[in-house]
């Protein structure tokens, strides 16, 4: 098989990073950052999700280019759903 076998050390490093980020996000929630609490929490969650997708799910190393197309378009459709819905609901009271 041409598939990469990644070193165990890489998996363990990603795992440790994910655990650290989990502790950080829970701890930061108790600090008053105003509206930035939500932003920090979502940025940390997205970094964790990215690490899982790239390394645990092997998207960084896949030889199949279509996988990346599917991942990017799935995220694109999700963001379209969220952005257009919120553009409606958050501006209704402005009129």
């Amino acid at each position: 098989m041409s598939e990469h076998v990644l070193p165990i050390k890489l998996y363990v490093t990603i795992w440790a990073t994910l655990l650290c980020l989990t502790v950080i996000t829970a701890a930061v929630a108790f600090v008053d950052l105003g509206p930035f609490n939500t932003i920090v929490a979502l940025v940390i969650a997205s970094v964790k999700a990215l690490l899982v997708v790239l390394f645990f799910m092997h998207v960084k190393y896949t030889s199949e280019k279509m996988t990346k197309v599917v991942v990017v378009s799935a995220i694109f459709w999700l963001l379209t759903l969220l952005a257009l819905s919120l553009a409606d609901y958050t501006t209704r009271l402005l009129a």
């Binding site: 989990t22 929630a29 929490a41 969650a45 645990f56 459709w77």
Partner: protein
């Protein structure tokens, strides 16, 4: 399989796992992987609908969402996040063990994954039971009183808090259902791995079940801050 020698698809190294409509194992593996990713794309939209509803109601009823979020057990939530991350590691290592042909290690790592998955569901069950005891389950016996965060004495709207708990149970419930399906999948795969069906030539079912498990992990990675960490500051 009986592919005749003059057939264009007949290749000399013919793995028993190769289906006749694929040219070789590599193509078969990539097709299965792509199909799995397309399925996960539909799963993103499935959970996306609930996330969208959550965002809209959170925007409208932020005070109620903040007050309700504070009643969730942040310790159990954090521990459960760590448990899921550990299970993702054991799945990734189990796939690697199959890639390198270590049958025993594959089975052990899959059993560890099952243990982590069941531990997550157990902790989730404790959390749900606590919510049941506190009458935080939406419905006739729902009862929730709190004041607006940072404004003691100003009561929140309990109907709006009920929407938070409806979303909480719908989202964690759907996530838990995915976990239960994953545990069932891995029970079957552990049995086949023990039988020696997977090795360096063929481990696609393990890889795809792993992708599913990691996806469910990612859903929780977003659920945790969105449900538990809305407003924790003193």
């Amino acid at each position: 399989m009986s592919a005749s020698s003059d057939s264009p698809i007949a290749v000399e190294s013919h793995s028993p796992a190769l289906r006749h409509h694929f040219a070789d194992m590599e193509q078969q593996k990539q097709a299965a992987s792509l199909g799995m990713w397309l399925f996960l794309g539909t799963e993103i939209m499935f959970f996306g609908g609930m996330f969208c509803a959550y965002l809209i109601y959170r925007y409208w009823y932020f005070n109620e969402f903040a007050a309700s979020s504070r009643t969730l057990d942040i310790w159990l939530g954090t521990i459960n996040t760590a448990v899921l991350i550990c299970s993702s590691l054991t799945v990734a290592l189990a796939v690697r063990a199959a890639q390198t042909g270590k049958r025993k290690l594959t089975v052990i790592l899959l059993l560890a994954t099952l243990a982590f998955g069941l531990a997550f569901l157990g902790i989730k069950g404790v959390e749900w039971y606590n919510k049941f005891e506190e009458h935080h389950i939406p419905g006739a016996s729902f009862h929730f009183e709190a004041s607006v965060p940072q404004h003691p004495g100003v009561p929140i709207n309990s109907q709006h808090a009920q929407i938070f708990f409806s979303l909480y149970f719908a989202m964690t419930g759907m996530h838990a259902l995915h976990m239960i399906i994953g545990v069932g999948l891995f029970c079957v795969l552990t049995f086949y791995a023990w039988k020696g069906r997977y090795g360096p030539d063929y481990y696609t079912p393990l890889e795809n079940a792993g992708l599913y498990w990691h996806f469910v992990d990612i859903v929780w990675i977003y659920l945790f801050p969105l449900l538990y960490l809305i407003d924790r500051k003193k």
